[in-house]
Symmetry: C3
Subunit: 376 residues, 3 copies
């Protein structure tokens, strides 16, 4: 965001450091299990990387995350971009690629309106997670985009077994777009053939914020997966500073031994309101949120931007005998000091009903989380 | 140090890469245990990061260490700074913070006068180590500073259990400060409530330099800690190129099961003399050492700066039945090629008397260590 | 390569970011073992670092690799360079150093003509691998260079046992060198005293490309090593766009318990032809390959450079009762979009005959690998 872009003397090469620091603290109370009523600190993201271009067509990006005191390669790709017409352009990227999947799932961790993405984005996902090595093509129009990708596993040191293979795509369209309002319609899918080395489908999805790892909705142990298919829909938009976004997704996991498929279901409804006159930071090229254009930054002696947020989300793994379900309702305030520095506060009322693991049966609690973050 | 600072076109953003490379070799002889008479190489620090500012008030820093061929996040914070009056200013920083604790403990690894910090800094320390996620406020006057912080665990991937909580502070004062002389008085403390997931207090502290991991003073196994409190004092100063620093510290570890508390005791006396006319690199703002202002750098055809150093340090864990004690006497030479490139040589005569572990009983030996280092 | 070099205002300091992204996909068929017929993706290299200088004589470099989703420190050193005469200069570097060993072994991973180095470079190697902490001196003349180094272990967190010690050297000479042709003669050796903590000499060397970890030539378990000595020869050159390089190496591993020494043998013959008029990217200073000077880059609307390659390589561990052998024949095409962006395709016919491990007996197969890569 704020960092200068460096250019070589002949202007052909550009280079820009990238990074983000997101510091969180999270405290939970009210659970009937003492092991869930904890207070933890953590880094939601600690990223360092760079992006650059060579001439008008070639570009690359490389970023690693250190937030759990170990390395996690995130984006690392080379790309080629070009125009098809004055209104339509495309790019093709090869490398370690971030899924184009769901509205919050396609929004960067430094731009999500809540401290953690909703359950559609965290649960209706390929088994390999948010990233895979492969190739993605994207096409962009004035009020739409579409992407298709084929990827193997995420980057790892394992070269003695087959990769899984994921085919996925997403598209969005803005049928209405004026200066101060917009309608967003989106859809996405993925289809994943699991390698014989990756047949475990057990899943425990956090629902009280990322920094309470004990508050999860769990499937119980689930072995013998053969393939998964997921899909989802996005419908939302904004009028002035008020935005609404509904998301729903479903994932079918096919199992071996003639067992019936396992269907995961998730949905969420989110909303936000900028009190300080900004429009929601909707990026019409990618169909996701970016960082807001703060009208009166604290740096210039202003107030910054203030946004109130609310979300309800619901996750259902009960298609399995040992699968649980749960929901969370979140109220939040975001204070943007400028377009890339923010302070966020979320209060979450959550409910889980697990049938496996340590924390079974109906359980409710409250989690309060705060973040300070900078993107550079 | 030497790297350029980049500024955005409007001057609002600044950005500077940071790093250090410290290469060590260490050889030990004279121990009655063959396993201690080893020769090893290692990187004392291999750091890469950046620091930057946004306008006059906001700043951030992010640095990771790769010295053991894995990632260790070191500093990673966002901060805000401002003036209270023409003489007093303050800052508040949130993120992964380095303890403000003890004189050598507050000095960066690229600025310590000896290859390894003394035992006051390495043994009288919170259980979570040199870093924790939290918030620190610091206030600076013309000849003093004070800091207070509250922190949880250091950055990690563990979010299923409570963090420990550390409250700590330090202050220093320079009652005398002239052009060529200075008196330093300092004090510090920490108070740590241990999480139920962090009750192991076993400690093995190196005393023959960092790169002989077999030469340690050990407590023996110590489980069931509830909390720790530590405090210490610093008294020193310089006249011309000669500096002296005395440090002492004590740590009380409270144990469960009605056992008496365990008290660790450490002290050290250090001195150095610049033969080439430089003043000691005392930083009056932070009350610690920085890098010397070399009068005649090798780069300009000069001799660089030469400093002779000496230290005695003593560590006592004998308050425990299985706790050991030990001391080390170090003679050293530092050759600063310029303000950020140095070659260091230390000869250490050490003594340990452990009552647990592999190397029990009185044992003496000699360790010779050398370092070449650059900070950029 | 393409990135700008930053200079401080007084011109004394220079600084340049460095990195490479190499994305691979590999597919194997034809083996009689299903576990070898796999398709995998991976990053051959994911590097980020920087290099810099202070004045004319001092320089440093620091680079880490993230290609297996964990950190691997690669080069990290400080150096001093100077001239002896108008024609001869030298440098001395201390830190984590890359072996100067074999022609392909001395060529960077972003410059190898094939996707993976040949077996001389991957099998005739010190037990500690491609890197060690220590000191290396190099001398350079107009048509030759020579290096000597003493190193301990590679960078690690292990400081409780002795390092191994490796003494090694390499030299090359160009007896013929005209505008469009060159003869290369080279030789190298290493001698390694193994620490008592590093006596395992078991080795499994990939021969069907790096990203099929199941296609290896194995020694079987080999414990009780005392020391190793390796040496090799390089003979090759180019006429116009056609280059040829022959390499051979041998490694003697001395074992304890009065057992006879174990001799590993490897050789390879490689060739390449630039169809687009470029000369082979031979670096006469280091005696290795660098990146080609593309005459008509794709960036400028050109075709780029196209190179056809072929290699035969042979590896023999049969001096051991349980040791195997194998060979591989590779045909390839490299398309250089510009001097630092490349697309590579290799087809490998391989044969292994192992006497230990999962895949024993004669086995043949075909591996097809592709890469897109950028160096910056």
């Amino acid at each position: 965001a704020g960092l200068p872009v460096f250019r070589s003397a002949d202007g052909v090469f550009t280079y820009k450091p990238r990074g983000r620091i997101l510091v969180d603290v999270s405290s939970t109370m009210g659970s009937k299990y003492g092991g869930r009523n904890t207070t933890t600190t953590g880094m939601r993201a600690l990223r360092l990387g760079l992006e650059g271009g060579v001439g008008p067509h070639f570009f690359y990006q490389f970023e690693s995350d250190f937030s759990e005191n170990e390395v996690d390669i995130v984006t690392a790709f080379l790309g080629y971009r070009n125009k098809i017409s004055s209104k339509v352009d495309y790019d093709v990227r090869a490398g370690h690629l971030f899924n184009d999947r769901a509205f919050e799932g396609s929004t960067g961790s430094d731009s999500t309106p809540f401290l953690e993405r909703g359950v559609v984005s965290t649960a209706i996902i390929p088994q390999r997670g948010f990233y895979g090595i492969g190739i993605m093509g994207r096409m962009f129009g004035p009020n739409w985009h579409a992407s298709l990708s084929v990827t193997g596993d995420r980057v790892d040191g394992e070269q003695a077994t087959n990769d899984s293979r994921t085919f996925s795509g997403r598209a969005h369209w803005n049928p209405i777009r004026t200066d101060r309002s917009l309608l967003h319609v989106g859809g996405w899918f993925f289809d994943e053939a699991l390698s014989s080395a990756a047949t475990t489908l057990t899943r425990s999805t956090v629902i009280g914020g990322r920094f309470n790892g004990a508050v999860r909705v769990t499937t119980g142990e689930l072995l013998g997966g053969r393939s998964t298919t997921g899909y989802g829909a996005e419908l939302g938009g904004y009028v002035g500073g008020l935005w609404v976004m509904g998301e729903a997704g479903r994932r079918i996991a096919r199992l071996d031994g003639g067992r019936p498929s396992f269907e995961s279901k998730a949905w969420s409804l989110s909303s936000g309101l900028f009190l300080t006159g900004e429009l929601p930071p909707y990026n019409p090229r990618l169909g996701s949120f970016g960082q807001p254009n703060v009208l009166d930054p604290v740096l210039d002696g202003g107030l910054g931007a203030i946004e109130l947020t609310a979300r309800y989300e619901n996750l259902d793994y009960t298609d399995l005998v040992l699968g649980g379900d749960g929901w969370a309702a979140t109220l939040g305030v975001n204070w943007y000091l400028n377009s890339f520095t923010r302070i966020q506060l979320n209060g979450i009322q959550w409910h889980t009903n697990n049938r496996a693991g340590t924390y079974t049966g109906g359980d409710d609690g409250q989690t309060v989380s705060a973040r300070v973050g900078v993107t550079f």
